[in-house]
C-alpha cells in the first residue's frame, strides 16, 4: 500500500515536468508581455527594456525556464510581477474560497444526484425515470453561468434571501461563510449532479440485474436493504470515478462562476493573471492544478479499494 502510494508520487515528477514545459512555452509564445501592463501604454522602449532586464525576461527562453525550474523543484514558484507577493502565497490565499466552494458544490451534487439516480434506476421506464433523466439532460445542457444568473435574479434580487455576490472567510462564522457560497454551490453542483445522476442510474441498473441481487432476493432480504446494503456499494465504483472528475474540475477553479459571484478563488486569480501576463503566477497555478489532479486521482484509486475488496491493494 505505502509502496504503491510512493510509486504514484514519483510518477508525478515526469507529469509535472511535461506540463511545465508545455505551459512555459505557450505563455511565452503568446503575444503581449507583463511590462506593457506594468508600465502602461506610454512607456518608452528604454523603460520596457529596463523592466524586462529586472524580471529576467531578456534572457533566452531556455535559460528562463531552467532558472524557474531550479526554484520550482524546491517548492519556490517565484514571485508575482504584480501582486507584491510570492506565487506560493498567492495560491494559498486563493485556494480557501475555491476549496470551500468545491466541497459545497460536490455535496449539493451528491445530495441531488445519488437519490435521484437510484430512484430512476428502481423505477426504470416509468414517468419518474423519464422526468429525472429529462432534468439530467437539461442540467447537462444548461451552462452553469446561466443557472447562476437565474439564481441571482430570483433568490438574490427578487426574494433577497441570500447575498447576491461576494465572499466571507470561515473565520467570520460558519453561516456567514456558507451564506455567500450557497448560490454558486447550487449553480455548480446541479450541473455536476446531472452527470453523476446518469452514472448512478446506469450503474445501479447494471448491478440490479446481477445474480447476486437475485440471490439476495431469494434470501428474503427486503427491497430497501437490497438497494442500500447490496447494490449501491457494488454500483459505486463508476460513480466514484465521475465524482473524482467533477471534483477535480471544481477544485481547480470554476472560473466563470467565481467571476459572477465575485469569489476570490483560484479561478479569478488565473483570469486576472492571464490578463496581466503575470507569467510566474500562471505557471505556478497550472503546476499546482496538475499536482491537485494527480493527488485526487490517487485518493480515488485508494477509495476504490475501500469500496471493492477485489481491487484492494495487498498489504505487504
Amino acid at each position: 500500500m505505502w509502496s504503491y502510494i510512493i510509486k504514484r508520487l514519483f510518477s508525478l515528477i515526469p507529469v509535472l515536468f511535461i506540463v511545465s514545459i508545455v505551459i512555459f512555452s505557450i505563455i511565452h509564445l503568446t503575444p503581449g508581455d507583463p511590462t506593457t501592463y506594468m508600465l502602461g501604454e506610454e512607456a518608452t522602449p528604454e523603460q520596457i527594456a529596463d523592466a524586462k532586464k529586472q524580471l529576467g525576461l531578456d534572457q533566452p527562453i531556455h535559460v528562463q525556464y531552467f532558472n524557474w525550474v531550479k526554484k520550482a523543484a524546491i517548492g519556490d514558484l517565484g514571485s508575482s510581477y504584480h501582486m507584491n507577493m510570492s506565487v506560493n502565497d498567492a495560491i494559498m490565499s486563493h485556494i480557501g474560497p475555491t476549496l470551500s466552494l468545491a466541497i459545497l458544490a460536490e455535496i449539493v451534487a451528491l445530495l441531488i444526484a445519488i437519490p435521484l439516480g437510484i430512484i430512476a434506476a428502481i423505477k426504470r421506464g416509468t414517468a419518474t425515470d423519464q422526468t429525472v433523466m429529462g432534468f439530467s439532460l437539461l442540467g447537462m445542457a444548461i451552462p452553469s453561468f446561466l443557472l447562476a444568473l437565474f439564481l441571482v435574479l430570483l433568490i438574490g434580487v427578487k426574494l433577497q434571501w441570500l447575498p447576491v455576490a461576494g465572499y466571507r472567510p470561515l473565520d467570520s462564522g460558519l453561516w456567514n461563510h456558507i451564506k455567500y457560497l450557497i448560490m454558486p454551490a447550487i449553480s455548480l453542483g446541479s450541473i455536476q449532479a446531472a452527470l453523476i445522476a446518469r452514472m448512478t442510474r446506469s450503474s445501479m441498473l447494471e448491478v440490479l440485474n446481477t445474480n447476486y441481487i437475485k440471490m439476495a432476493r431469494a434470501k428474503g432480504v427486503v427491497e430497501r436493504r437490497i438497494i442500500y446494503g447490496h447494490a449501491l456499494q457494488n454500483a459505486f465504483l463508476p460513480i466514484l470515478t465521475v465524482i473524482g472528475i467533477t471534483f477535480g474540475g471544481l477544485v481547480t477553479g470554476a472560473v466563470v462562476t467565481e467571476t459572477i459571484f465575485n469569489i476570490p478563488g483560484i479561478g479569478s486569480l488565473i483570469i486576472n493573471s492571464v490578463a496581466r501576463r503575470d507569467y510566474t503566477v500562471i505557471q505556478g497555478i497550472v503546476l499546482f492544478v496538475t499536482f491537485v489532479y494527480v493527488m485526487l486521482n490517487l485518493v480515488i484509486d485508494i477509495l476504490y479499494g475501500v469500496i471493492d475488496p477485489r481491487v484492494r491493494l495487498e498489504e505487504k
Binding site: 446481477t210 445474480n211 447476486y212 437475485k214 440471490m215 439476495a216 432476493r217 431469494a218 434470501k219 428474503g220 432480504v221 427486503v222 427491497e223 447490496h230 456499494q233 457494488n234 469500496i307 471493492d308 475488496p309 477485489r310
Partner: protein, 338 residues
C-alpha cells in the same frame, strides 16, 4: 397426502415484454414430498429455470403475471403479500444458482452473506449469526472455515464458492431447497463432490430438493423422481427407475438416447433430437414437441395431448405413447446406465 411439501397446480408464468406476451411456464403441475429429491430436466429454454424462480416469485413485479397455485405448508405462495413471501424466501425455501461467482455478492465477506439470512429470519445477534455461519461452512466441507468466513468470494475457488453458496442457502435450515443447475459451472470432480454433499445434506437435514439440470446422468445419481419439461410444459413425470427403464414420451426417449455411452460403439454418431426448441413467441398449436417428434401425425399437430396417468407414479403428455411403447423394445440397453 400430509407428507407433500410443495404442491404446484397448473402453474403459468406470463411475461409482458416490449416484444410481446410470452408464457414461459404453461400449466405445470407436480409435487415434492418431504425429504424427497425431484429432478427437473429439459433443454435450455424449456422454462425450468423460470419455473424454479416462480416458486419464490423472484421476477420483478409488473412485468410478470402468475396463474395457478403453489401450495407450501398450506399456503398458496402466489397469494402472499411482499412481507409474507420475504419470510418464506431463504427461510422455508432456499435457492442456489448456476454460477457461484456471480451469485455471491463480491463486496461482502462469505461469512457476512451467510449470517445475513440468519439475522434476518431467526432474530439472531450478529455474533451468534457469525458463529453459525462458520459452523455452516464446516458443514458444507470448507476447510478452516473461521478463516474462510472472513474472505471475499473472489478469494475462493469455484467449488468452494458453490459450497459457500449452499451454506448461504442452508443458513436457516430450509424445508425445501431449489437448486438451479448448481453443478453446471463446475468441473467433473467438483461436481461429484457437490452432488455427494447435496445427497448427504438431504439425508441429514431431511430437506426436500428440487434439482434442476439438463444432465440426466446427475439426475440418475441423485433424484428419486423426475419431471421432464419441454417448452414450458411437463411432458413426462416418472420415478427414476421408470424413467430409465421405460420412458414414455418420445422427447424423454430422445434425451436418454443422447447420453453418450462409455461402452458404446465409438464410430457411431451421438444421437441427437432433430430440430431446435422454437422460440416462446411461436409456440405450436397442438403438441409442442410435434415438429421435432419422429412419431407425430396430423392429430399431434392439430390438438395438444392430454396428460395420461400410466402408473401411479408415471404420467405422460403424448397421444401415441402406447403405440410407441410397443415398438420401443430396442432401447432396453439404456437402463444399464444408471
Amino acid at each position: 397426502m400430509s407428507d407433500v411439501l410443495l404442491d404446484i397446480k397448473n402453474l403459468k408464468t406470463h411475461f409482458y415484454t416490449e416484444t410481446g406476451h410470452v408464457t414461459a411456464v404453461n400449466g405445470v403441475s407436480f409435487n415434492v414430498k418431504k425429504g424427497e429429491i425431484v429432478g427437473v430436466v429439459g433443454e435450455s429454454g424449456c422454462g425450468k429455470s423460470v419455473m424454479s424462480q416462480t416458486i419464490l416469485r423472484l421476477f420483478e413485479e409488473g412485468t410478470v403475471e402468475y396463474e395457478g397455485e403453489i401450495n407450501f405448508n398450506g399456503r398458496n405462495l402466489l397469494k402472499l403479500n411482499k412481507r409474507q413471501i420475504n419470510k418464506v424466501r431463504g427461510n422455508d425455501i432456499s435457492m442456489i444458482f448456476q454460477d457461484p461467482l456471480s451469485t455471491l455478492n463480491p463486496v461482502h465477506t462469505v461469512g457476512r452473506q451467510i449470517a445475513e439470512s440468519i439475522i434476518l429470519h431467526q432474530n439472531a445477534s450478529k455474533k451468534e449469526a457469525e458463529e453459525k455461519a462458520i459452523e455452516l461452512l464446516r458443514l458444507v466441507g470448507i476447510p478452516s472455515p473461521e478463516k474462510r468466513a472472513k474472505e471475499y468470494p473472489h478469494n475462493l475457488s469455484g467449488g468452494m464458492r458453490q459450497r459457500a453458496m449452499i451454506a448461504v442457502a442452508l443458513a436457516c435450515r430450509p424445508k425445501l431447497l431449489i437448486a438451479d443447475e448448481p453443478t453446471t459451472a463446475l468441473d467433473v470432480t467438483i461436481q461429484a463432490q457437490i452432488l455427494d454433499l447435496m445427497n448427504n445434506l438431504n439425508e441429514e437435514l431431511d430437506m426436500g430438493i428440487i434439482f434442476i439440470t439438463h444432465d440426466l446422468g446427475v439426475v440418475a445419481d441423485l433424484c428419486s423422481r423426475v419431471v421432464v419439461m419441454y417448452l414450458g410444459e411437463i411432458v413426462e413425470e416418472a420415478s427414476i427407475e421408470e424413467l430409465f427403464d421405460r420412458p414414455l414420451h418420445p422427447y424423454t426417449q430422445g434425451l436418454i438416447k443422447s447420453i453418450p455411452q462409455l461402452d458404446g460403439d465409438r464410430s457411431a454418431m451421438l444421437h441427437t433430437i432433430e430440430g431446435t426448441v422454437p422460440p416462446l413467441t411461436r409456440v405450436p398449436k397442438g403438441c409442442r414437441f410435434a415438429a421435432r417428434c419422429p412419431f407425430a401425425d396430423e392429430k399431434c399437430v392439430a390438438s395438444a395431448p392430454p396428460v395420461t396417468e400410466y402408473t401411479a407414479t408415471q404420467k405422460v403428455k403424448c397421444w401415441h405413447f402406447e403405440k410407441i411403447l410397443k415398438n420401443q423394445e430396442g432401447i432396453a440397453d439404456v437402463h444399464t446406465y444408471s
